[in-house]
Amino acid sequence: MTNLLEINNLSVDFPSRRGQVSAVKKVSIGVAKGEVLGLVGESGAGKSTVGNSVINLLEPPGHISGGKIIFDGVRIDQLSNEEMRKIRGAKIGTIFQDPQTSLNPLMTIGKQLSETLIETLRISGASAREKSIELLKSVGIPYPETRLDAYPHQFSGGMRQRVVIALALAGDPDLIIADEPTTALDVSIQKQILDLIKSLCKQRNLGVIIVTHDIGVIAEIADRVAVMYNGQLVEQGKVIQVLQKPKHDYTKSLISAVPSGDQKLNRFTVVDYIDGSEEKVAMKNVGDHWLSKNKTSKTHDTAVLVKNLSIEFSIKKALFRKNRIFLKAVDDVSIEIKTGESFGLVGESGSGKSTLARLIAGLYKPKSGDIQIFGHNVLQKSEKTKTSLIRRKMQMIFQDPYSSLNSRMTVEDIVSEPIRFHRSTGNAIETAKVVQDLISFVGMPSTSLKKYPHEFSGGQRQRISIARALASRPEILICDEPTSALDVSVQANILNLLKDLQEELNLTMLFISHDLPVIRQMCDRVAVMQNGRICEIAETDKLFDDPKHEYSKHLLGLMPRMDLFRL
């Protein structure tokens, strides 16, 4: 049987000022009708570039520098723009990562659908409307007749991705390229979307290429998998075979780096294949260090006590109160975090977990309820100075390391700012020394102090964020999805670093994540949140082995079943 798409020795170059960068080096893959091929690799592996070169939408100045792309028996890598445009949509459909941004916000989805249908199928406006309804129905959008006139912002993330899929299917293509189709979605919606893609593939006998960094997604949907590393194809084969008996060292480490949801390990397995990915943490005997002085926590057993906390955001304002609509983002929540404990907060997006963290950090004002930190009620207005002293003991690490560092400050300025602001050292020489130590504690060389954030990778930036948080000598660390923007291998390093720091400095940690395996490895106790309420608080092992609440069971059931493939 000949493949629907055949890529032979494909190379893609990006010329730059410092010479050619080869994003893809001699990659050969193929996909047949009715088959799902998973293309997996970490960021920068060149996997999206392969997808983009098939539809000839490489970002300039990137260009195909060698090899052949044969689609349906015809060579397509040398077609003109206009010829290629007729293949896009009509023969090859594409699904992009972020449904928030891949739809035109100013056009109804009906208009976007019929425009595509009229262009690719050359049909009339009236029958395009009929066909649009049919398409929306086939991707599982309820009431398609009325939803046609809705704008993209009126759909939820999962529904929007369904619309994107409908658009990709509009021209009745034979091949679908899905570039990280579920990365921006919640786990429960991820499963629905993957099931949808899989069933469409079988029903319509489509070839599908799924480009992803997530081995869980591959395990869920793909028939065959190709692993890319650094622009090269390191391994390909049947999913079961590759995941169970990986031949290449990179594949082995990539699979082992995925945190396990079924048992608690001491440390995260680190991808050792990548050169220099694990910087050794040079932190010994910090008990005598500047960092460990000035502790207040020893006298208190409870670090954070939250009682009946509520906050609401108005989502519809009006002149009269009865017409206003409020969203209860956090609804009557009570938790207690013990000193030195690692407390996890898990839930889907919109469950209120980040809002709760921000309330505790003092970034929002609650509508009602109490927050006590080390026994001090921080919401009391009468003791402002004491409150700000206590607040200093608490630091946050944010999700996106790209936007949470000031790009116009050097790393040294970023890390030393809290020290200078609080005047917590004697003089400038001591400050410089402390900053040196901090940056080496988080596993970065001291040469990085003079550099700017853009010179670092995502993982390194997150290390800098951690050093900055440590500079205030916190006793409570609030980590809001600290690794969800990072690759698996980098994630393992950062999580190990956080664990080490917590042990050495006896930090109390509030750890927020939607990723259950990560929570299992990081936390002593976990609270499960849904719609602003706490469903269940339990010891981590207990929750994972024997969940009590229905919603906890549901969430745990959605964990990618990696164990099937583990030996």
């Binding site: 293949i87 459909g93 992009f96 941004t101 891949s102 035109n104 916000p105 009126q154 509009a170 519809k316």
Partner: protein, 332 residues
């Protein structure tokens, strides 16, 4: 249908903006009222050097200048609300009548230059945004720099020298070919009128044109990089549909804001242009009023310009509603 008073309904939105506009107008009128009290003694400006003390006192009483300040303010506001801005000190005619006589000239000038600026600016902006690296785009961008960097009066004088003095194609100043049309004196219906409006309108529009051009280009480049344009390409849509159906509309929201503010700017700049071309509009009248400390005209002009700004901004806000469904915020 959304209930009438909910935010998100157009009615509520406009009501809200109207209330803000009233506040702006109240503040501006207070400032223009204070002109009367702080810019010299109006009596001195009205009577001759040889007026007697009794005459002065009589005029003071006629004008009500001895009343408490709040009473004067109230009277001023009541008059203004009825369109009565008092008598010009210099010409001794009602100010409202003077402004109304001169208004058509200014409005026609502003209208003509707004049309030139918006049309040319958007067309050139889209072109340079799409054909980023072509020679034509590079030339347009370099020439447009002149539009931003040269002051209006220099451009005006330059154009007069070239087209009126040197080539003798167009008149150098004044407003010719005026026809009375139901109380509105227009110069847009005669060839002479068109010939005389071209130079001042082009001069006035040049700065705004450049701003709009550069803004549309920058927005266009931004939008062309966005995911939904990439996705539109991946669906095989034609370039025409992508550029004009998807990209242009998305650039319009910020562009409308700037155009709105800039039409206000056109009125402000028209003071200079009208002076250079001796265009008999309100701007020229204002400059002459400043020379003679003709406070009623200055105060009325201030209120008039503020009113125009407020009305334009209101129109801009309503246009947002038309262009961007996300601001409409229907139930989702």
């Amino acid at each position: 249908m959304a209930p009438l008073l909910l935010e998100g309904s157009m009615f509520y939105f406009i009501l809200n903006r109207l209330a803000q506009s009233l506040l702006v107008m109240a503040v501006v009128s207070a400032i223009s009222f204070s002109l009367f009290n702080f810019v010299g003694d109006p009596v001195n400006n009205m009577v001759g050097q040889d007026a007697t003390r009794e005459q002065r006192i009589e005029i003071r009483q006629q004008l009500g200048l001895d009343d408490p300040i709040l009473v004067q303010y109230q009277r001023f506001m009541l008059n203004v609300a009825q369109g009565d801005f008092g008598l010009s000190y210099r010409i001794k005619q009602p100010v409202s009548q003077l402004i109304l006589e001169r208004l058509p000239a200014t409005l026609e000038l502003v209208f003509a230059s707004a049309v030139i600026a918006v049309l040319t600016g958007i067309v050139l902006g889209v072109y340079t945004g799409i054909r980023r690296y072509s020679w034509v785009s590079k030339i347009i961008m370099s020439v447009s720099l002149i539009g931003v960097s040269l002051p209006t009066f220099i451009i005006g004088i330059g154009l007069i020298y070239l087209f009126a003095v040197h080539l003798r194609w167009l008149p150098s100043s004044g407003r010719a070919g005026v026809i009375e049309l139901g109380g509105w004196k227009t110069s847009l219906l005669t060839i002479d009128g068109w010939r005389s409006i071209i130079l001042p309108a082009v001069t006035l529009s040049l700065f705004q044109l450049t701003m709009i051009l550069r803004l549309v280009r920058a927005e266009m480049l931004e939008v062309m990089r966005s995911d939904y344009i990439k996705f539109a390409r991946a669906r095989g849509l034609a370039n025409r549909a992508i550029h004009f159906g998807h990209a242009l509309r998305n650039t319009l929201v910020p562009v409308i804001t700037i155009i709105g503010l800039n039409i206000g700017g056109l009125i402000a700049y028209s003071v200079i242009t009208e002076t250079v071309f001796q265009w008999p509009g309100t701007g020229l009248m204002f400059i002459q009023a400043v020379d003679f400390v003709d406070v009623p005209i200055m105060a009325a002009y201030l209120i008039f310009v503020a009113l125009l700004f407020v009305v334009i901004n209101l129109i801009v806000d309503i246009l947002y509603f038309v262009v961007d469904p996300r601001i409409r915020r229907g139930g989702s």
